[in-house]
């Protein structure tokens, strides 16, 4: 669920309440296709819908009402934000692990941020300001040390989360070194076996060939 903020202009001084309606039907007719989700008191001009569906085209309507009846509605529509779905990480041509996701909506609102938790620790933001149309993040060159990373994706507007966080995706680095002895030195070739998993389920291994360079 996502939160949607509604505001309107109060044009009457005899209302008892305002009624807030919502629908996800296509080309809806008021009131038949709408569901009343709440009422707010007289003179109120805003409301936050904390249970709006993710990734839908949502029509809202607000009416004023008293004992005499109900006014015509004022209406507005919004494309709500979807909960990102992360896919199985993969290695790109630069041997970087790439986290990808689907944003699951048609909205261009907000931006994406990527969080990472190292070896079971707390999540920390490692990337932000990725546009709403961005759907992948290269995690950077990792010096493998048999680490396990978890990644997740969030959709933000400023510091506000516009939708639920994605699920976690795991990347586990299992280092095997071939063609040289440990410790490695500049010029050695390393084969890194990367186990990738989505929400804890290992979905496969990927081999990454690295060449040790001197820092």
């Amino acid at each position: 669920m996502v939160s949607i903020n509604l505001s309107w202009t109060d044009n009457s001084d005899n209302e008892n309440e305002f009624r807030v309606y919502r629908t996800t039907k296509v080309a809806p007719t008021f009131p038949d296709d709408y569901t009343q989700i709440d009422t707010v008191g007289a003179d109120t001009t805003s409301y936050t819908d904390t249970n709006a569906p993710n990734g839908e085209s949502v029509d809202y309507a607000v009416t004023a009402a008293n004992d005499g009846g109900e006014s015509d509605p004022t209406k507005a529509i919004i494309e709500t934000i979807g909960t990102p779905t992360v896919g199985t990480p993969f290695a790109d041509s630069n041997s970087e692990i790439v986290v990808s996701w689907s944003k699951n909506d048609n909205s261009s609102a907000g931006s994406h941020a990527v969080d990472r938790a190292d070896n079971g620790g707390p999540f920390q933001q490692v990337a932000s300001g990725l546009s709403a149309s961005t759907a992948e993040y290269a995690t950077g060159t990792h010096v493998p040390d048999s680490d396990t990373y978890q990644y997740r994706v969030r959709r933000l507007a400023g510091d506000d989360e516009l939708a639920d966080k994605s699920g976690d995706v795991y990347v586990e680095y299992v280092v095997t070194i071939t063609g040289t002895n440990s410790p490695v030195s500049a010029g050695d070739s390393l084969d890194v076996d990367v186990e990738v998993a989505n929400n804890g389920t290992i979905e496969g291994d990927q081999e990454i060939a690295l060449t040790v360079t001197e820092q």
Binding site: W8, S12, A64, G68, S71, K75
Partner: protein
């Protein structure tokens, strides 16, 4: 309160015709050939005039603290009814005319509303008919220069249904209508813009007037 709800009530003695009218100061009712007046503030009785004249039994009553419009049986229960002006002080008959055969009568300081086959507006000055139309003859009628309240009976699904209606004095068009009174068999209404007085059996009621529907809100904005 919904249009037609009972706000308060006062029991009159043997209010056999169930008529009621008045304004924001005085309420009138009829019981057993008598015209009653009640204080608007607490509906206590402030006056009663036993006409004691069954050949001129008052049938309905309306008006204000300064004038009473009503009708009566024109003679022993037979023949035409009379349109009458009664004195607010002693309920004596000031004027009457047999030019109409009114079923119910109401009105204000400067207007008389008559139910006689249809709604008729009658001039208070000379009892001439000014206009007519609007309905088939309400079972109850009252109001003033700004509003007409009626009880109108119509057939719905084979049964008689009573509706309380607000009509526009200029063209008799229906502004509001409710069948909220249906189970109460209210026989007459009166009053003015902000109050409806209704009569039924031994009771005078104040009924809730229509509530103006609020203006629609505008400029709905939805954001994340």
């Amino acid at each position: 309160m919904v249009f037609g709800d009972i706000i308060r009530q006062s029991e009159l003695v043997d209010n056999s015709t169930g008529s009621a009218g008045g304004d924001g100061t005085t309420v009138y009712g009829i019981g057993n050939s008598d015209i009653y007046s009640l204080n608007e503030s607490d509906l206590t009785q402030s006056g009663i005039k036993s006409l004691d004249d069954f050949t001129n039994e008052p049938l309905s009553v309306g008006g204000t603290k300064d004038v009473i419009w009503g009708n009566s049986n024109g003679g022993g229960g037979f023949g035409l009814n009379l349109l009458r002006e009664y004195s607010p002080s002693d309920f004596s008959v000031i004027r009457e005319t047999s030019d109409f055969d009114p079923f119910k009568v109401g009105g204000g300081d400067n207007v008389i509303w008559v139910s006689e086959g249809e709604i008729k507006e009658v001039s208070p000055s000379d009892f001439s008919q000014i206009s007519s139309g609007g309905s088939d003859g309400p079972a109850g009628i009252g109001g003033n220069e700004s509003v007409i309240w009626t009880i109108e009976r119509f057939e719905k699904d084979g049964s008689a249904v009573d509706a309380l209606r607000e009509r526009d004095p200029s063209d008799f068009s229906v502004l509001s209508s409710t069948t909220n009174i249906e189970d109460r068999a209210i026989s007459d209404v009166g009053g003015y813009e902000d109050q409806i007085w209704a009569g039924k059996g031994d009771y005078v009621y104040e009924l809730a007037t229509p509530v103006e529907i609020p203006s629609a809100p505008s400029n709905l904005s939805v954001t994340h």
